[in-house]
């Protein structure tokens, strides 16, 4: 975990991060437990962390970092763990929808440069097969002028696509 420069060894397991985390009740391992697992340096525990659901349901709301007495950058660690988890194909199956949403979002930007919401929804439903979810929402949004039928295409789409390509060289996204 030296890559992140996050000072995991400083954690004295006070639990304040877990206490303030809005999603800790939905996690398999609350943030303070994740810190402990990383502290041990045990490769099996590190593997468990990469396969955990916690890292995916984390909202990066930064509450843990704001309250941590040791100023440990847990959100930075979470981002790192997420990227590593996906690259090593260890992502928790329960996180399927969450990851699908991220992928759909990024795919949308890759092609148009800006988010195309309808494209995002369609792509997400294709990945997750959750066809009926939020279906009633679309007409309501359209009625209020919140849903664009035509995507906004930026001019330098190839430039943006190139950014994606270069950043993905190391990752297998």
């Amino acid at each position: 975990m030296e890559h992140t420069e996050v000072k995991v060894s400083h954690c004295y397991q006070c639990g304040k991060c877990s206490a303030g985390c809005p999603l800790s009740v939905e996690m398999d391992y609350p943030p303070s437990v994740i810190m402990r697992m990383l502290q041990t340096g045990d490769p099996i525990l590190e593997d468990t962390v990469l396969r955990s659901f916690s890292i995916w349901v984390c909202l990066t709301c930064e509450m843990c970092f704001a309250r941590c007495p040791m100023s440990i950058d847990i959100p930075k660690m979470m981002d790192f763990l997420r990227e590593k988890s996906v690259n090593e194909k260890k992502a928790n199956p329960k996180a399927k929808e969450i990851i699908a949403f991220h992928r759909s979002f990024l795919d949308s930007i890759k092609y148009t440069g800006r988010l195309y919401e309808i494209g995002l929804f369609v792509d997400y439903k294709a990945r997750t097969l959750k066809i009926l979810d939020d279906l009633a929402l679309a007409p309501k949004m359209m009625k209020r002028g919140k849903l664009n039928i035509i995507p906004e295409l930026i001019k330098d789409r190839s430039g943006v696509a190139a950014i994606f390509k270069k950043s993905n060289k190391k990752n297998k996204n």
Partner: protein
């Protein structure tokens, strides 16, 4: 020709591991003026010292260079050895081959060469050394104790009982300090005031103790055995000799709503007040900032009702000057207030209080007469939560250290609460339990095992108020960080123990060191806990670091014995490493031209003007003269003198020049 002895020490392996000591000794043997040169494993040991002594006697040495550790370690040792062998101790110099050479370099030729150079420098210097005699100064056998808490009280009593005089100054109107605010003390649950007040009375009545309350240190000059202090006695607006302590004035004072400092803001007091019933002295003071007379020029009710006419509205502060031989600092500590904690409400919630405030609630003489009641509505809390480490062990908040006493007083508070509110539920959120004293662990176990206090290992992330209750969100880290949310009636924060507000200023007045947290610095963390780096000034109690009562008392007695030791001599010997203005024969008398730049430069006011007179009593010239009792040998005057008329004995211009040239010239 000089006959200098060079003694190179191996210091076990400390020096010999990186420096070739034998080579250093061999090289030194060939210098002009060196009559004896040897290396040995431990020069400071008895055989080592005997080596020096026999060499002095047998070879008739007139100078000694010991090439070993820092003079701060063993200069006294070697100088004493020389004196015992009949050589003036100031003919002995040390070359620091350890801290200045072997400990900071790797093994190699360059390191050995540096050691050789260091020895050469000192050998050349010693050729210009002169025999010097120690200076004797008298000792004033009166001690000043600053701070009238338990540590200050103990130190004063101990010193006074050895027969010496003590002046005890306390900035509050009464002595007693924080201990007088406590309800019961751990681990015995003794009533705090019951054990303290007899001591307070003893202090007031002791023939050797002069007590000044509502007084602070104004300034300090001088040095060990010979301090001059100015004490500011703040005006109490009272003639203490006339006041009988009847208390009529405090009953009749119309200004009744001032937050009481003694009750940590939970109760109110009047403008003319005695801080608490058992105050010593039991005489009131007028708080001029809040008194109607001083603000608007009206009232004077206290003056009217006082049966002895003791009120003095126009009394001014008095500065008292005293001569002191030693000082004990016992100014104590304070605790952080809840407004320090953003996630616990920035001090907005009346029912989130500090440990010291809880003491006042639990205390029989407190604002609620010993009943635990919520400051907001006066109801008895049915659920109370105690937070450990509220501010301590928290680098993000700037306080990385542990405040030591909180684990113990939290257990005590929880126990007191359970004893007073039988059906109440108490919770303690903790990270670790630090109960290292005698019977401390057993005390904490009693809270958990006998009194049913719920200890939850985890910290609280946030406290907020809803519908009159305090919602406390924490976790239990022993249960996979399971969230624990409690709707509490009252929350007690074990806030960090920190240095007093004026600590930095006081330290600067006293010329003592302090750490980044403004706690006063001890001379050595292990071996000199009650001394400071300033000779003659000692520490006792929590002003040095947060600590509990038994430790404060022990430290106070320790400081007292140091003072008594100092006072057991009638004279103190001082090193003769002081500045001297030269004197020559007539008609010059001295190369000093009387510009007196040195007088203003001296930080210790140790230089005076002296008139040189001829036989008829006419003044020929005014020159500078150094007071040997005050001079600290800092050398500032030497740097200022334009005619090079002033020099430091043992570090003369000649000696310094020779050392530098010995280093630069190829030998």
């Amino acid at each position: 020709m000089s006959k200098i002895g060079v003694f190179v020490c191996h210091c076990g392996e400390n020096i010999s591991a990186t420096v070739d000591c034998a080579k250093v000794a061999e090289t030194a043997a060939n210098y002009d003026g060196v009559a004896f040169s040897v290396d040995y494993k431990y020069m400071c040991s008895d055989p080592g010292q005997n080596l020096i002594k026999s060499a002095i006697k047998e070879k008739g040495l007139d100078g000694v260079v010991v090439a070993s550790c820092s003079p701060r370690m063993h200069e006294p040792t070697f100088r004493k050895a020389c004196a015992e062998a009949g050589l003036n101790p100031f003919m002995c110099e040390m070359a620091n081959l350890r801290e200045h050479c072997s400990w900071v370099h790797e093994k190699g030729e360059a390191t050995t060469q540096k050691a050789i150079d260091l020895v050469r420098m000192l050998v050349e210097k010693v050729k210009y050394n002169h025999s010097l005699s120690e200076i004797k100064v008298p000792v004033t056998k009166t001690a000043l104790v600053i701070g009238g808490g338990i540590a200050g009280i103990q130190a004063s009593l101990d010193i006074a009982n050895t027969g010496h005089k003590v002046i005890l100054i306390e900035k509050d109107p009464s002595i007693g300090g924080h201990m007088s605010q406590l309800s019961e003390t751990f681990p015995t649950l003794d009533c705090s005031q019951c054990i303290l007040t007899p001591r307070m009375v003893e202090v007031a009545q002791h023939p050797n103790i002069t007590l000044y309350t509502y007084a602070e240190l104004e300034s300090l000059e001088g040095f060990i055995g010979n301090f001059k202090v100015k004490i500011r006695k703040k005006s109490k607006s009272l003639d203490e000799k006339l006041c009988t302590g009847c208390g009529m004035c405090t009953t009749k004072c119309p200004v009744k709503k001032i937050p009481s400092e003694f009750n940590e803001g939970l109760g109110k007091r009047t403008a003319i007040y005695v801080p608490f019933p058992q105050a010593v002295p039991n005489k009131p003071v007028i708080d001029r900032k809040n008194c109607t007379y001083y603000i608007k020029g009206k009232c004077k009710v206290c003056e009217i009702v006082c049966p002895t006419g003791a009120i003095r509205f126009d009394q001014e502060d008095e500065i008292v000057e005293k001569e002191i031989g030693a000082i004990v600092i016992a100014t104590g500590f304070t605790v952080k207030q809840p407004d320090f904690f953003p996630e616990y409400g920035y001090g907005k919630y009346a029912d989130v209080i500090t440990g010291l405030q809880f003491e006042r609630l639990a205390s029989a003489s407190g604002p609620t007469l010993g009943e635990i009641r919520r400051p907001s509505d006066g109801k008895v809390p049915q659920k109370i939560v105690f937070l450990a480490c509220a501010g301590s062990r928290d680098p993000a908040k700037g306080i990385p250290y542990c405040s030591k006493i909180c684990c113990m007083y939290i257990a005590k508070h929880a126990m007191l609460y359970q004893h007073k509110v039988h059906d109440g539920k108490s919770y303690v959120f903790y990270m670790d339990i630090r109960a290292g004293g005698k019977q401390y662990e057993e005390f904490v176990r009693r809270a958990i095992e006998d009194d049913g206090v719920n200890y939850v290992r985890g910290r609280v992330s946030k406290i907020y108020e809803k519908n009159g209750k305090l919602i406390v969100s924490g976790v239990d880290t022993l249960l996979n960080a399971m969230p624990v949310e409690i709707e509490a009636d009252m929350v007690v924060l074990a806030t960090a123990g920190v240095a007093n507000e004026g600590a930095e200023e006081l330290a600067q007045k006293l010329h003592i060191s302090y750490d980044p947290y403004k706690f006063f610095a001890e001379a050595h963390p292990k071996l000199k806990p009650v001394e400071t780096n300033t000779a003659g000034i000692f520490l006792a109690g929590a002003c040095q670091a947060p600590r509990d009562i038994p430790e404060s008392v022990a430290m106070a007695s320790g400081a007292a014995v140091k003072v008594a030791g100092l006072f057991s001599q009638d004279e103190l010997t001082r090193e003769p490493i002081i500045a001297v203005v030269n004197r020559q024969a007539a008609p010059v008398y001295s190369s000093c031209v009387g510009c007196f730049l040195c007088v203003s430069a001296c930080p210790y006011q140790a230089i005076e003007k002296e008139e040189i007179k001829n036989r008829s009593g006419e003044v020929i010239k005014s020159v500078a003269k150094v007071n040997p009792g005050l001079c600290q040998g800092c050398g500032t005057c030497v740097a200022f003198c334009r005619t090079k008329s002033i020099d430091i004995q043992g570090y003369t211009h000649e000696q310094m020049y020779t050392e530098v040239m010995a280093l630069l010239n190829e030998y």
